[in-house]
């Protein structure tokens, strides 16, 4: 009997093959029954219907794109690598700016019941707002579409990190705080030597949720602000009616999102501890 991993991989591969096969089979243009006139060829052959391109075509497109990912042939024709790099740059900038605000603020809220009660109403009102709802206001105030997109990432990343940090800090076991107190640790030392490592797994969980949300939001934000980025690329290729590129970029969005989650997952493992 093969190991669980091998069997799971086998099932995955079979499912993938079945899905691709079905997709391919359902999207074949009808075969020509007679020779086409010049006019018919110009009008798209006998296939009068727009079809989702089959995986074989998408794969061809992907090969073209991936073999030269960083070309830059003008504003509307950049390689997939460049587009993804723009998106990643925005996501990471907004995300780390949010972390710089959310983690210290979360510490404050977690350590001080007063601040928790005082700030909670603001958090409860601001948190459910769709990040894209901020876009018009951000564009008006910041007057820069690039920075507005980063702001939208900032505002959507902040909440899971803030709430998780506050929760993690507030729920550090009292015994550990007692240990810090009986060893006469200062507030700062207690925060760094005891509370931070104790709350780190919870904080990292928040950071992992945040990066996922940020990557979801950047696509929509870039569709709005335009210019560069993977979101803009998807929309631009839709306008070009190039469905091959649309499908290819959807897959790339998924892969990059998975990579971001994987990276945060590794960091989360590093700070994990067993009680």
């Amino acid at each position: 009997m093969a190991s669980l991993n091998v069997r799971a991989a086998l099932v995955s591969v079979c499912l993938l093959a079945a899905l691709l096969g079905l997709w391919e089979a359902l999207n074949q243009p009808p075969a020509a029954t007679e020779a086409l006139t010049e006019f018919e060829i110009l009008m798209g052959g006998v296939d009068q219907e727009a079809r989702v391109p089959p995986p074989s075509q998408v794969a061809g497109r992907a090969w073209d794109e991936l073999s030269n990912p960083f070309y830059d042939a003008g504003p509307n024709d950049k390689g997939i690598g460049i587009q993804l790099a723009y998106s990643l740059y925005r996501v990471l900038t907004g995300y780390f700016a949010a972390a710089l605000v959310a983690i210290p603020l979360g510490f404050l809220i977690g350590m001080s019941p007063l601040m928790h009660k005082a700030l909670n109403p603001f958090i409860q009102v601001l948190r459910p707002i769709s990040p894209l709802a901020w876009m018009p206001l951000a564009l008006f105030i910041i007057k820069d579409s690039e920075l507005s997109a980063i702001f939208v990432i900032f505002i959507c990343s902040i909440w899971p990190m803030l709430i998780n940090t506050a929760f993690g800090v507030a729920n550090v076991r009292n015994d550990w705080i007692s240990v810090a107190r009986t060893h006469e640790l200062s507030q700062i030392k207690t925060a760094f030597l005891v509370i931070l490592p104790a709350a780190a797994p919870t904080i990292l969980t928040g950071m992992r949720i945040s990066i996922g949300i940020a990557w979801l939001v950047i696509v929509a934000a870039e569709m709005l602000v335009g210019g560069t980025g993977i979101g803009y690329y998807v929309w631009n290729e839709w306008n070009n009616l190039d469905l091959n590129s649309v499908i290819f970029s959807i897959l790339m969005i998924g892969l990059v999102g998975m990579a971001l989650d994987f990276a945060l997952g590794r960091v989360e493992k590093l700070v994990q501890y067993k009680e």
Binding site: R181, T182, E184
Partner: protein
């Protein structure tokens, strides 16, 4: 009479709610001499842990005060080390770093090598030389408590507070660690204040046992001197003629007399020395004791 090393004066803990107030204990008075090993025994709810927490500076009394070396205890200090019942090790640190954490806090001017060397020495003392790099989750309950004891002793506190340190351990492990505690204590001659539920453990370890009456309105009723000569061993102590006298006296108190607290005894607890014949024998029900007493 000069003040003892630690002096607990008129200590009381009262929880007040809107409707009434709950007096956990009041008028608690006793002293601890330097180098003394004092155990405190009492039924659950009498406030032993609260007294220990006040001594540690982690809790505030409602009334009264604790004076240590002429200064009132206000807040925690490295002069008072605590071993908690649930070990309270930091799970993300290795055994060695759990101890060096305390050592570094105690002597911030020491070099890294000195801190680690000192920590290692105390871990060797409790028989954990082979487990320095392991995390607490990889240790058994007994080993964790040893780390906790090493951490407390390594900072050389003037007063060591043990809150039922062996309560969660099985009887065999408990015995082994009791021996280790005796060993480390006899090497360091620290002043120790320990909570326990185990009468035998108290007799084995203590110079003096404080008996608490039941809560609410609990208090320290008696102070029982244990004059069994040291070094004591778990196996040999039962052969001491005084052992069963003391044991019966303590058990008799806990079973029959802990409920009655003489009203108005707000002063120091009565001093008892059960090994002096005539004390503690009258209620003896144990035939073994009777035999021993006869042999005397």
């Amino acid at each position: 009479m000069s003040k003892p090393f630690v002096s607990i004066e008129q200590l009381a803990k009262i929880y007040t709610s809107a409707s009434d107030e709950l007096v956990v204990f009041e008028d608690v008075n006793f002293g601890i001499e330097k180098g003394e090993f004092v155990c405190i025994i009492g039924h659950s709810g009498c406030g032993k842990s609260t007294i220990l927490n006040v001594l540690a500076g982690l809790d505030m009394p409602s009334r009264g005060s604790i004076i240590m070396e002429g200064k009132e205890i206000r807040g925690p200090s490295l002069d008072r080390g605590v071993v908690f019942q649930n070990y309270s090790l930091l799970p993300w640190l290795s055994t060695l770093h759990n101890v060096s954490f305390g050592v570094r806090a105690r002597w911030p001017q020491w070099s890294k090598a000195e801190v680690l060397e000192h920590s290692r020495r105390y871990l060797e003392m409790v028989g954990l030389a082979d487990s320095l790099q392991r995390k607490p989750s990889e240790l058994s309950g007994g080993m964790r408590q040893r780390v906790s004891i090493a951490r407390a002793f390594a900072t050389s506190p003037k007063l060591l507070l043990l809150d039922e340190p062996f309560g969660a351990l099985d009887a065999l492990t408990r015995g082994v660690i009791q021996d280790e505690l005796i060993k480390v204590w006899s090497e360091t001659q620290q002043t120790v204040f320990m909570i326990t539920h185990d009468v035998d453990e108290a007799i084995l370890l203590a110079d003096r046992i404080l008996l608490m009456s039941n809560g609410p309105r609990a208090g320290v009723a008696e102070s029982v001197k244990i004059n069994i000569p040291r070094p004591r061993g778990r196996a040999t102590i039962v052969e001491d003629p005084a052992y069963y006298k003391i044991r019966n006296y303590l058990v008799n108190f806990l079973v029959n007399r802990s409920g009655e607290r003489k009203t108005g005894d707000s002063q120091a607890p009565t001093f008892i020395d059960p090994s002096i014949s005539g004390v503690g024998n009258e209620n003896s029900t144990n035939t073994e004791t009777a035999a021993l007493v006869a042999a005397n």
